[in-house]
């Protein structure tokens, strides 16, 4: 009788301990949320350490996924072969015209540069990286790349796909880095509307197209205008293409980026020798890989 009483007490104690552990874990989760708000750097460092550890696994896992995506792409291409061919023919004609114009302008530009002694932009160095993790949720848009500090990646560097800007480096680990896409709510990029030279800040808007904030002056922006980076804040070199204005409803300008997120497989992390968008991570002075004087 006495023994069963002791057993009962033991069970109650165990239950209490379990309850206590559960409640402490809840408290720990809430504490982490507050800590994340208070100490951004610590959280960032934790993130990069874990991302570094997971990078090799994700790298391996992303390979079959991209093979499957390729097959799906092939099937889709086959289905649209005829329409695609007609579209390409039309586009080719248009581009041939632009090629002539561009050639003429290039020579003219070179001659004018010579006449005016213009200092030309330094050739940027770049690192090619593979997307190994698509860390997208409904809450944020970022990707894990398989290049990190040891490959020369630094925070704030622009990330391009082809010629177009897709985002910038937000966190750097030893062998992986996190690319913040320009559709993320935390991404703010100084831009200029190419035809009207209207300055604005491009901000991500989860679930929808990114929008222009802080539009300067009297905006005469219309649908189809190209949006490129501006030199404001010395974050990015001016003139990197981003997208076109897709909607202007209610005075909110929404941008359709040139590169869609699902198209990204390889990206170029480009070092333009600028401070990048996060000035608290100043670039160390180091010899450039190619081009430029410094």
């Amino acid at each position: 009788m006495k023994q069963s009483g002791a057993l009962g007490r033991l069970a109650t104690l165990r239950l209490l301990a379990q309850r206590f552990a559960f409640v402490s874990l809840i408290v720990a989760a809430v504490a982490l949320m507050i800590l994340g708000k208070a100490d951004v750097l610590l959280v960032e460092r934790t993130r990069t350490v874990v991302a570094d550890a997971l990078a090799p696994i994700l790298d391996v896992m992303s390979r079959p996924a991209s093979a499957i995506a390729e097959v799906v792409d092939n099937v889709r291409e086959l289905a649209n072969l005829r329409a695609e061919n007609a579209r390409l023919k039309a586009e080719n004609q248009r581009l041939l015209h632009w090629q002539t114009v561009a050639r003429r302008l290039e020579t003219e530009n070179a001659i004018l540069h010579d006449h005016l002694n213009v200092v030309s932009d330094p050739d940027p160095a770049f690192i090619s990286a593979r997307v190994i993790g698509d860390l997208g949720t409904a809450f944020g848009h970022s990707m894990l790349l398989n290049a990190g500090a040891r490959h020369g990646v630094r925070k704030g560097q622009a990330v391009l796909s082809g010629e177009a800007l897709v985002g910038y480096i937000a966190e750097v680990g030893e062998r992986s880095s996190r690319l913040l896409l320009l559709t993320d709510i935390n991404a703010h990029i100084p831009v200029v509307v190419e035809s009207t030279r209207t300055r604005a800040i491009l901000t991500g808007d989860p679930g929808r197209r990114p929008r222009l904030n802080y539009v300067a002056g009297n905006p005469s922006i219309s649908i189809g205008d190209r949006v490129v980076t501006s030199a404001s804040g010395a974050a990015f070199p001016p003139g990197l293409p981003i997208g076109v204005v897709a909607a202007t409803a209610d005075g909110i300008f929404r941008i359709e980026p040139f590169v869609q997120r699902h198209q990204l497989e390889f990206v170029a992390i480009v070092d333009f020798g600028l401070g990048g968008i996060m000035p608290f991570d100043r670039p160390p002075e180091r010899p450039r890989r190619r081009g430029g004087e410094n």
């Binding site: 552990a21 874990l25 949320m33 996924a65 993790g133 409904a138 809450f139 989860p206």
Partner: protein, 171 residues
């Protein structure tokens, strides 16, 4: 009689399966699919893992492991630290405390209960992330996420049940 070393090691490894499978589900959500429109909507696979094991083997995926899974999900997905940790912890706690009700019930009941829990989880994480970011987020992608998660539940539960049969039948 004490079982031999090999038997004990075998049991030990088998006991790691639930957590291992849940981690694998978590990593799967991070694999880039490169499918148009799919990129910003990922099913909540780890949630299904935590829910399943909380009902069938709560001893092998206890609350603290659910917390750890959530923390890893936060770190990988870039959501504010602690959000998924809290959500998965609460899911584990709720499911494990109600497991007597689930055991022996039909699959539809488990699916229905999972629907309630998943809706609660999505709502809670939306609320927490909106609070922490200081801006209300667009709920539309969350609806897709919910629908996708519910649609995948039968397939995933089937494979989790097969995993349990294969590795944990008598340990």
């Amino acid at each position: 009689m004490k079982p031999s070393l090999w038997v004990r090691m075998d049991t030990w490894v088998r006991h790691l399966v639930p957590f291992g499978v849940t981690l694998l589900l978590l990593l799967l959500t991070a694999v880039p699919t490169r499918l148009p429109g799919f990129a910003s909507v990922v099913p909540m696979l780890p949630l299904m893992g935590v829910y399943y094991w909380a009902i069938f083997r709560p001893d092998l995926l206890p609350a603290w492991l659910a917390f750890l899974t959530g923390l890893l999900a936060d770190i990988i997905a870039g959501t504010p630290l602690g959000v998924n940790a809290l959500v998965l912890l609460l899911v584990q706690g709720t499911a494990a405390s109600q497991r007597k009700f689930f055991l022996g019930k039909s699959f539809m009941v488990a699916w229905w209960a999972f629907g309630l829990l998943a809706a609660g989880s999505i709502g809670l994480s939306w609320l927490l992330v909106s609070l922490l970011r200081g801006a209300a987020l667009d709920p539309a992608p969350l609806m897709f996420e919910y629908a996708l998660t519910m649609g995948l539940y039968p397939i995933l539960t089937w494979s989790l049940a097969r995993t349990q049969m294969a590795f944990l039948k008598d340990v």
